[in-house]
Structure formats: C-alpha cells, structure tokens
Amino acid sequence: MENHLLLVLMAILLTCSNSFADTLYITLEKDNALAVVDGNTGKLIKTVKIGKRPRGIVLSKDQKQLYIAASDDNTILIIDTASLKPVAKLPSDKDPETFAIDPSGEFLYVSNEDDNLVTVIDIAKRKALKQIPVGVEPEGIAVSPDGQWVVSTSETTNMVHWIDRAKLEIVDNTLVDPRPRSAVFTADGKQLWVSSEIAGNVSVFDVASKQLIKKISFKIPAVTQEKIQPVGMRIDKTRRYAYVALGPANRVAVIDAEKLEVIDYFLVGQRVWNIEFSSDEKRLYTANGVSNDVSFIDLENHKVVKSVPVGQYPWGLAVKP
C-alpha cells in the first residue's frame, strides 16, 4: 500500500516537473545575444553572442534549429539549438525584424520595413524566391494554419495585406486601426487577430469573409491610454483565452476569446513586447524590453510567479519543450 502511494507521489512529481521542462530562448536586442533560460527554475543557463540586434525568433518544426532575425546584419540566422552556434544564414534583405514560417516548414516570410517588401525565402535552398511589394513599413506577419494565407500588416498604411500563398501575390487588403504591429491566426484558422499600437486596440477578423468581427479595447485603472500599446499576442489552441502584451502599460491583458472581452490584466515588467506559451500552454512567458527581464505567468493559478533578469532589451522568445 505504502509502495503504491509512493509510486503515485513520484508519478505526480514527475508530471509536475515535466510540465515545466521548457527551455526558453530569448533574443537580446541590445546585447546582440541570445539568452537561454530554464523554464522550470527560471534560471539563466547561458548567454551567447549571435548577431547584431537580434529580434524575431522562431523555433523550427523539428525543434532542432532556431531562426533569428539579426536586424543590423541584414540576415536571418539559423542556430543549432544543441550547440547554440549559427549553422547557416538566410538572405532576408535589409533590416529583418519579424518573420513567419509556413506550416509545412518550406517557406519563410520576412517583413522588410525600410523597403516596403515581404521577402519569401525557400528555407531548404536558402534562397530568396520573391519580393512582394506591400504597404509602407510592413511589420506583423503570419501564415494561416492551413497554409493558404500569408498576412502582412503595414504600420503606416494601416492595412492588412492578404497574400495568396499559392500565387504569392496580394489578393486583398483590409484597413485596420493605426500602427498595426502584430498579426496572429487562431489555431482553427477561422480568425485573424491584429494589434494596433497607436489605436491601443486589437481587431478580430473573420478569415473567410475578411470582415471585422470586433475591436477589443483596453482600460487599466491609473494607466494613461497612451501607454496602452498592444503588441505581441497569443491565443490558446482551444480558443478559450487570448493574451495581449500592452507594451509600456507593463501589463498583459487576458481576453475571453469566445466573448472577445477583456477579463483581467497581469502586471509584468516594463515595456512588455512579445509573449510565448509554454509547450503545455499552462504558462506564459513575457519579454520585458525596458526592465530587462522575462516574467513567468502561471495561467492555471492566474498569477505572475516571477520575473527573471536576462540581459539588455529582451525582444522575442521561443520555447522548446
């Protein structure tokens, strides 16, 4: 009997530790480095220099490689997650910041903010296939889960450009509120969420009709509206809750993704920019650009657990299970 109890306890302990066994990779814009943090303990494992001004970061499908936009090196680096050394470079053209990868892992799409272009890169061939002209200052970019759509948001034109993945051409444009920063598809591919930094809201679109479903606004007691600048977003797989980083408001908004209403705000570090789920979606990690740390949010207990210093200007994060 006692042995059984012990086994059960051990099993519980193991599942608990497994659920937090993530490794976080964080790009440090000012340190020109990549920080590696243990998702379980929150300890900074190591920091490695990579390239100039690293910003966008995405984990490859097989989880063996990281794609990192080295903005001032005008390239996207491919980093081996085991050795943390660059293994290749992708021709991203000038000043890459954000990028997205096909669900198939075949193509990578980069926003070239200065040239008003979206560059399409064949990852296997490490070649730029095409450059698609878009609006002024393209920023957010996302690929729909079915691989049919690539959307690019242009910060100055205030538009969402719908690029047909098969033709690699813009087939439609939708106006959004000022300075659209980030675009995210829901896991079922039915909705597209776009955050507008200056307007301080998030627009939710129906993908099939490309029509606006709702605009979500934010109001935080004792925080001025100008400080509420929505940037990074994450929506859970079941589309139950969504989380939006509110930049200098130092908060992450919790949204009921069914009703499209704000439920609550988490207080995190200063100028929270990008956010990422843990692999089991039980935690949320936030990159806080000004306070130089990453906050850990326990989503089950609805609590910010800790904030860990990582280095100067953390920008983006990737989570490896």
């Binding site: 004792a222 130092n250 906050s295 850990f296 904030s307």
Partner: protein, 267 residues
Amino acid sequence: MNLPHYLRALRGISTRELLRFVHQRERFISALVRPLVWLFIFAAGFRSTLGLSPTPPYETYILYEEYITPGLIGMIQLFNGMQSSLSMVYDREMGNMRTLLISPLPRWFLLVAKLLAGTLVSILQVYAFLLVAWLYDVRTPLEGYLGVLPALLLSGLMLGALGLLLSSFIEQLENFAGVMNFVIFPMFFLSTALYPLWKLQESSQLLHTLAQFNPFSQAVELIRFALYGQFNIYASIYTLSALTLFLSAAVIGYNPSKGMMQKKGGK
C-alpha cells in the same frame, strides 16, 4: 507565588485589555480605518507611479498596494503599542495602576502581561485589516496568513515595549501629542513601510542609514517576509534585540527605587 497566580494575573490583565478594546468601538473602528485610508486612497494615488522592481521577498512586479500592506500592518501595531502606553498613563492618572502594582507578583511580570495583552489586541486588529484588504483584492499567499502570526507577536511585543518605555516618561495624558510628533511619525516615515530602502538611498544616504537602523523598519521587513512564507533572520534578531532593550529599560523605568516612577512619585 506559583504558576496559577501568574496565569490568573495574565488572564485578568488580558481580559481587561480585550474588554476595553471591545467596549471602545470607536477605537476599533479608527484602528481599522487608519490603515485602510492609506491603502484605499494613498496607495491608489501612487499605484503606478512607483515602479517597484522585484526585491526579496517579491519575485515579480507588484502594485504599490501590495508593497505597503506589511507597512500598514506595522502601523497598526505601532499605533496600538503607543495607545497602550497612553492607557498606562491614563491608568496612572486615574489610580487604576496602583491596584495593579500592589499585586504581590513581580513588576516585570505585570508589565510583560500588559504587553502581551496589548499585542493580542493588535493582532486582532491586523487580521481584521487583512480581511478587508483581501476583499479589496490585496492578497498574499495563503500560507502567509498563518506564517505572519509569530512575526506579528514579535513585532507587536517590540512596539508595545517601546510604548511601555515611553509611558514611563510621560507624565500626563496631554503629552501624547508629543509621542505622535516625535515617535510615531518619524518612525513610520523613516522606515521601509512606504518605500523600499533602495528608493530612499537614491535620494539620501543619511535617510537610508537611519531607516535601516530604525527598529520599525526591521519589524516591517519581518512581517513582509513572513507574509510570503519566508523567514528573515536578520530582521527577527534585530526586532528581538530591540524588544529586549526596550523591555529591560521599561522594567527599570517602572521600578520605584530606580526609574522614572520615583521622580514622579513626589508629585
């Protein structure tokens, strides 16, 4: 004199203190309202202006309300400690103290019993405050509500002992305003109750040093750590030492042959 005698005296003094507290409803309300005004109004005004970076025991960013809660608990105990001292002066003026002091029990014991009774009252006040704060959504981890109890006992005794010591110096009830001005306010403002030490250091090294050695700061830090289920060894030793010092001085102060009582005896 044996143990039952001591216990009976302790019970008598505690009951009297509790009864006095319960009967003076205004005192209970004002003891509760004072920290709540700070929490609801003062802290709300500063809610976002003070960017508090995570320093132990905090592991992440917190709102100002959460930061000053341990400080306000300290304030409750500080006021209560001083109020007890006020009641000692009152008792002396009214002659009740004579009844107490003619008891055959040693004087130090009577003083400690008085101190314990006062601390008990302050702990009740603190939990009432924590309950309202909890309803206002200012919450600490659950284990903190129990963990804070020994810390409250120690800090309450220390601040009560300071009150006792002061009461041996105060001749009349009217002098209590002086205690407000020269003890409560400086102790409260020159501590970590309202702002962390590093914030004070940014503006003045002198203020930082004074706040660091202020026993009230250490009592607040003891409570702060305990509220998060942590034990601050330095703060506990500091508070315990301050308690020993104040209590010994108070016992001497109340000794008819040595202390302040003798000087006042002639009046």
